[in-house]
C-alpha cells in the first residue's frame, strides 16, 4: 500500500518545469531513495510531497487521501516529517529544548501560554530517552549553535524521530558530513527505519546502496527509471545521465 503518492505532478516557475508529469509512489515499510544529477528536481519533488510547494498540476496523496491542498504543518501532523538540506535546528535553543519542542504536540502543550513545559513529567521522560538514544547526555544544555555540524545533523534527526512519524523524509542527510559522521548517521537511519517508511534524497551512492531498498532516478524534472540499486546502477541511461553523455 502506498503511503505517499504523487500522480502526474508538475510544478512550473514562469514556464520552466522543475518537475514534469511525475508519478511516484512510496510504499509502506520501505526505505526509498531518489537520486539524480544536480538540477534533476529531487528536492523540488521532495518539497511537493511535503507540501512546502504547491504543484501547478497533478495531485498528492497520503494513504489514499488527497492532500494536494494542505499545508506543510498539516502534513507533519499526519505523521509525515521531513528534514532539510541545510541542517535545520533551532540555534538559540539548547539541545534539550530542541527535542522538547518536537515533543510538545504529543503532550498537547503547544497552546499552553503560561507554565513551563518541563512541568509535564511525561515530556521530560521522553526527552531524556531521546537524548540518551542519540548520545546527547552531556550536551543536553548546550545551545544548538555551539554543536559541530555533524552533531547538528544528528540533532535534526533526533527531533525528527521525536515526532514519532509514520513517514520520514530526509533531504540529503549526509550533506556536509565527514566519514565517521556518515557511518553514525546511516546507523541511526537504519534504526529509525524499523517500523517506519523512509524516503531519502541523496548524492552519496555508498549510503544509497547500503540503505535503500528501492531507488527512483530523476533527470531534468522527470522520472527516468526505478528499481533496486543493482538494477538501476547498471542501466545505460542512468550512467549517461550522470556522466552527461546523451541529452
Amino acid at each position: 500500500m502506498s503511503v505517499l503518492e504523487a500522480r502526474d505532478v508538475s510544478i512550473a516557475f514562469n514556464g520552466f518545469y522543475a518537475v514534469r508529469n511525475v508519478d511516484f509512489a512510496l510504499h509502506e515499510g520501505t526505505i526509498h531513495a531518489v537520486i539524480g544529477p544536480n538540477g534533476a528536481g529531487k528536492t523540488t519533488l521532495f518539497n511537493l510531497l511535503t507540501k512546502f510547494l504547491q504543484p501547478t498540476g497533478g495531485s498528492v496523496y497520503y494513504r489514499g487521501q488527497d492532500i494536494t491542498g494542505e499545508g506543510p504543518a498539516a502534513i507533519a501532523r499526519r505523521g509525515v516529517v521531513r528534514s532539510f538540506q541545510i541542517s535545520a535546528v533551532f540555534q538559540g535553543l539548547t539541545v534539550r529544548e530542541n527535542i522538547e519542542l518536537a515533543l510538545l504536540r504529543r503532550s498537547n502543550l503547544q497552546w499552553r501560554l503560561v507554565g513551563h513545559a518541563r512541568r509535564n513529567t511525561d515530556l521530560v521522560r521522553r526527552a531524556d530517552e531521546i537524548l540518551a538514544q542519540f548520545g546527547f547526555d552531556r550536551e543536553a544544555d548546550t545551545a544548538a549553535a555551539n554543536l559541530s555540524y555533524g552533531r547538528k545533523r544528528v540533532l535534526e534527526l533526533a527531533t525528527t524521530i521525536a515526532m514519532d512519524p509514520d513517514v520520514l523524509l530526509l533531504d540529503e542527510p549526509m550533506a556536509g558530513l565527514g566519514r565517521e559522521d556518515i557511518d553514525r548517521v546511516a546507523e541511526l537511519i537504519l534504526e529509525a527505519a524499523q517500523g517506519r517508511t523512509v524516503l531519502l534524497v541523496e548524492h552519496n551512492m555508498q549510503v544509497v546502496s547500503r540503505l535503500a531498498e528501492r531507488i527512483t532516478v530523476m533527470v531534468r524534472g522527470e522520472v527516468l527509471t526505478e528499481g533496486s540499486y543493482d538494477e538501476v546502477s547498471k542501466r545505460p541511461e542512468v550512467i549517461a545521465a550522470y556522466t552527461g553523455g546523451g541529452h
Partner: protein, 641 residues
C-alpha cells in the same frame, strides 16, 4: 454642463490631470527609494529628509548665492548625492552585514537628526521659493487652467523615470547592479567592486530624492518638515509597486496620483488616506506588491541575549527588585511621570513580545494603544462606565482590532509586514480624525478617573499609583511567563527557522496571529491605563510617530530582553518630559540616540548588560575548566559522542 456622479465633467478631468501630475512626482520620488531597496535591501527612511535637503538646498542656493532654479536642478542632486555617499560609507555600511531591519532603523534615526538640525537652522514655518520666470504662467485648456510649471513637472518626471528604468534594466551597469543584488559575493568574485557600487547607488538614490525636492520647491511649501508626512506615502507607493522594482515604483506612483486625484474630486477629506487603503488591498492579493519578487529571506538569526545558568531565584530576585523600586520611587520622583512611564513600559513590553520574540516588527502599533485610549475615554465620559469596565472595553477593542489587523498583516513578513501594519495604522488615524466621538483635534479631555470596583477612589493619587503599578507588574509577569511557556518556545523556534517549525507540525501562521493579538491586547491595556493617568485621549496616540517611539523605546532598552523595554520606556518618557525645555533639539537627540544605539549598542541597554555579564561568566568558567580540558576531550572521545 455634463456631470459624472454629480461632479461636473470639466472638474473631474481637471482633477485627473492634476492627479496625473502628482503621480509623476510620486513616481520620481519613489524611484530613488526603489533603487536603494533593490540594491541594499534597506527601506531608506531618510528618503524624505534627503528630498527636503534638495528643496531647502535650492532655497539656500538662491538666498545666499543667487543661484537660480536651473542650476539648482543639477547642483542640489549632486550635493545631496555626495551627502548620500558619505552617509553610506561612514554610517550605513556598518550595519550592512546585519538584519536589514537595523538599516531601516538607522535611516530612521538619521532622518530625525537631519530634520531636527534643519528645523533648528531654518525654522519650521517655511521658506519662499518662486516658480522660475521661464516656466511661469499657464494655458487655459478649456476644462482647466494648467500652469506651465506643472506641465514641465510631468515631462521631466517621465524623462527621469524612463532614464532610470533604462539604466537599470538595459545597460551593463544595470545588469551588474541587479546581479550584485542577487549575489554580491559572486559578483565581487568577478572583480567588480560591490561595496563601491552600493555606495554610489545610495548616492544616486539620494540624488533622485533631492531632484524631486528641487522640482517641488516652486509649487509646494519648502520647509524642514516637508519630507516627513510625504515619506510614508512614498513608502506605500513603493510597496504597492513591489519593493525593488523600478517598473513597479513608476506604475504605482502614477496610479497613486490618479487615485488621489479621483478621491479629491469625490471625497477630498480622504485623499491622504486612500493610498494606504490601496496598499492594503494590493498586498492582500499580491503579497509582494504588483511587480515585486523579493521574498523577505529569513535573515541572520539574531540570538536573543540570555544569561547562561539563569536560575529561578535570580529571575524572581530581579522582578522583586523592579517591583520594590517602583513601589518606593514615588517618594523621590514625581508620581505622574512614573505612572505615565509604566503605561508606556507596558506598551513597549507588549511590542517587544511581537518584535523581539515573535520577530514581527510592526510600524503601526500606535493603533492599539490609541484605539483603546479613545474607547476607554469615550465610555467613561459618554456612557458613564466605571473604570474597570472601561478598561475592559478599551482592551477588548484593541484585541478585536488586533485580530483583524493580525489576520491581514501576518501573511507577510519583514518589510512588507512593517508596511502593511503602517497602512492599517494610518487608516485608523484617519478614522480617529473623522469620527465624531473622538473629538478630532481636541481629543477627549478631562476624563474622570472614577472609583474602581466601587471601592477604590482613583482620584486619590496614591490609590491610582498602586493600581497602575499592580496592572503593570501583572502585565509584565504575564509576558515573562508567556516567554518561558511552551507557546513562547514555539515562537522562538518560528523566529529562528520557520520552515523547520512547520515541518514539525506547527501551523506557524496561527502562532503569529496569536502573538499579534496578545501584543495588541496588552498594548490596549496600556492605552486604557494611560487615559486614566493622563485623563486625555488625543490624536497623538494614533499618530505614526507614536509607533516610531515604541520602536525606539524597545530597541534602546534591548529588544528581545524582558527588562529592556521597561528601561527604554522610562528613558524615553524622561527625555520627553524633562528635556521639554530644549525645544527643537529633542528630535535631534532622539535621532542621535537611535543612531548611536544601532551602531554601537545594538543589543540595547539591557542587552549589552546581559552580554557583558555573560562574557564574564564564560571567561570565569573557561578559566576554571582549562585545566580539565584534556580529560574532557578524552571522555568525549571514549563516549563516541
Amino acid at each position: 454642463m455634463t456631470t459624472i456622479f454629480g461632479i461636473p465633467a470639466a472638474l473631474l478631468f481637471g482633477q485627473l490631470l492634476l492627479g496625473l501630475i502628482n503621480g509623476a512626482f510620486y513616481a520620481t520620488l519613489s524611484l530613488g527609494l526603489a533603487v536603494i531597496f533593490g540594491m541594499m535591501n534597506i527601506a531608506n527612511f531618510a528618503h524624505g529628509a534627503l528630498y527636503m535637503m534638495g528643496a531647502v538646498g535650492a532655497w539656500f542656493l538662491l538666498d545666499a548665492f543667487g543661484v537660480g532654479y536651473w542650476t539648482s536642478l543639477f547642483l542640489c542632486p549632486l550635493l545631496v548625492g555626495i551627502v548620500g555617499i558619505l552617509l553610506e560609507r561612514l554610517i550605513l555600511r556598518r550595519v550592512s552585514h546585519l538584519d536589514h531591519l537595523y538599516g531601516m532603523l538607522l535611516t530612521f534615526g538619521l532622518a530625525l537628526i537631519i530634520q531636527g538640525l534643519f528645523r533648528f537652522a531654518f525654522g519650521s514655518s517655511g521658506l519662499p521659493y518662486a516658480i522660475p520666470e521661464a516656466l511661469s504662467g499657464g494655458t487655459n485648456l478649456g476644462f482647466m487652467f494648467l500652469p506651465h510649471y506643472r506641465g514641465w513637472v510631468i515631462l521631466v518626471a517621465l524623462v527621469i523615470c524612463f532614464a532610470t528604468w533604462y539604466a537599470i534594466e538595459k545597460t551593463r551597469l544595470g545588469a551588474y547592479l541587479r546581479a550584485a543584488t542577487e549575489n554580491p559575493a559572486l559578483v565581487q568574485a568577478f572583480g567588480i567592486n560591490v561595496p563601491a557600487m552600493i555606495m554610489f547607488t545610495y548616492g544616486a538614490g539620494a540624488a533622485l530624492a533631492a531632484f524631486a525636492g528641487v522640482l517641488a520647491a516652486p509649487i509646494l511649501q519648502v520647509s524642514p518638515t516637508m519630507g516627513a508626512d510625504l515619506l510614508i506615502v512614498i513608502f506605500a507607493v513603493v510597496v504597492i509597486g513591489g519593493l525593488g522594482s523600478i517598473k513597479g515604483a513608476i506604475v504605482a506612483g502614477f496610479s497613486a496620483g490618479i487615485l488621489e486625484g479621483l478621491t479629491k474630486a469625490f471625497y477630498p477629506e480622504a485623499s491622504t488616506t486612500v493610498v494606504f487603503v490601496l496598499m492594503a488591498l494590493v498586498l492582500l492579493i499580491w503579497p509582494a506588491g504588483l511587480f515585486g519578487s523579493k521574498t523577505q529571506s529569513a535573515s541572520t538569526s539574531v540570538v536573543l541575549p540570555a544569561l547562561a545558568n539563569e536560575t529561578s531565584l535570580m529571575r524572581w530576585a530581579l522582578f522583586a527588585a523592579m517591583a520594590l523600586s517602583l513601589a518606593v520611587a514615588p517618594v523621590f520622583v514625581y508620581p505622574a511621570f512614573l505612572m505615565k512611564a509604566m503605561t508606556y513600559a507596558l506598551f513597549a513590553c507588549a511590542f517587544n513580545l511581537m518584535a523581539g520574540y515573535g520577530r514581527l516588527v510592526s510600524f503601526g502599533h500606535a493603533m492599539f494603544i490609541g484605539t483603546a485610549g479613545y474607547v476607554t475615554a469615550y465610555v467613561i465620559k459618554g456612557w458613564g462606565f466605571p473604570p474597570e469596565l472601561a478598561i475592559l472595553a478599551g482592551t477588548a477593542s484593541a484585541s478585536l482590532l488586533g485580530l483583524v489587523a493580525g489576520w491581514l498583516s501576518t501573511r507577510s513578513s519583514g518589510v512588507y509586514f512593517a508596511m502593511i501594519s503602517l497602512a492599517l495604522a494610518q487608516m485608523i488615524y484617519f478614522v480617529a480624525l473623522q469620527a465624531p466621538f473622538t473629538g478630532g483635534e481636541d481629543g477627549i479631555q478631562s476624563v474622570p478617573r472614577g472609583v474602581l470596583f466601587g471601592l477604590f477612589d482613583l482620584s486619590d493619587p496614591a490609590v491610582l499609583y498602586v493600581f497602575v503599578l499592580l496592572v503593570f507588574l501583572g502585565g509584565f509577569l504575564f509576558i515573562a511567563a508567556l516567554v518561558r511557556s511552551p507557546f513562547g518556545q514555539i515562537l522562538k523556534a518560528i523566529r529562528e527557522h520557520e520552515p523547520r517549525a512547520r515541518s514539525l507540525g506547527f501551523s506557524t501562521e496561527h502562532y503569529k496571529l496569536a502573538v499579534f493579538v496578545i501584543s495588541a491586547t496588552l498594548s490596549g491595556l496600556a492605552g486604557s491605563m494611560k487615559v486614566l493617568v493622563t485623563q486625555i485621549a488625543s490624536l497623538t496616540d494614533v499618530h505614526w510617530l507614536m509607533s516610531g517611539e515604541v520602536i525606539l523605546m524597545t530597541f534602546l532598552g534591548g529588544v528581545g530582553t524582558l527588562y529592556g523595554p521597561v528601561v527604554g520606556a522610562f528613558v524615553v518618557v524622561a527625555m520627553q518630559n524633562y528635556l521639554a525645555a530644549l525645544g527643537a533639539w529633542v528630535s535631534v537627540i532622539h535621532g542621535a540616540i537611535f543612531v548611536v544605539c544601532i551602531l554601537a549598542f545594538r543589543r540595547g541597554i539591557v542587552g549589552e548588560l546581559i552580554s557583558y555579564v555573560s562574557a564574564r561568566q564564560a571567561r570565569s568558567v573557561a578559566a576554571g575548566t582549562r585545566a580539565d580540558a584534556p580529560d574532557v576531550v578524552a571522555r568525549r572521545l571514549k563516549a563516541g559522542a
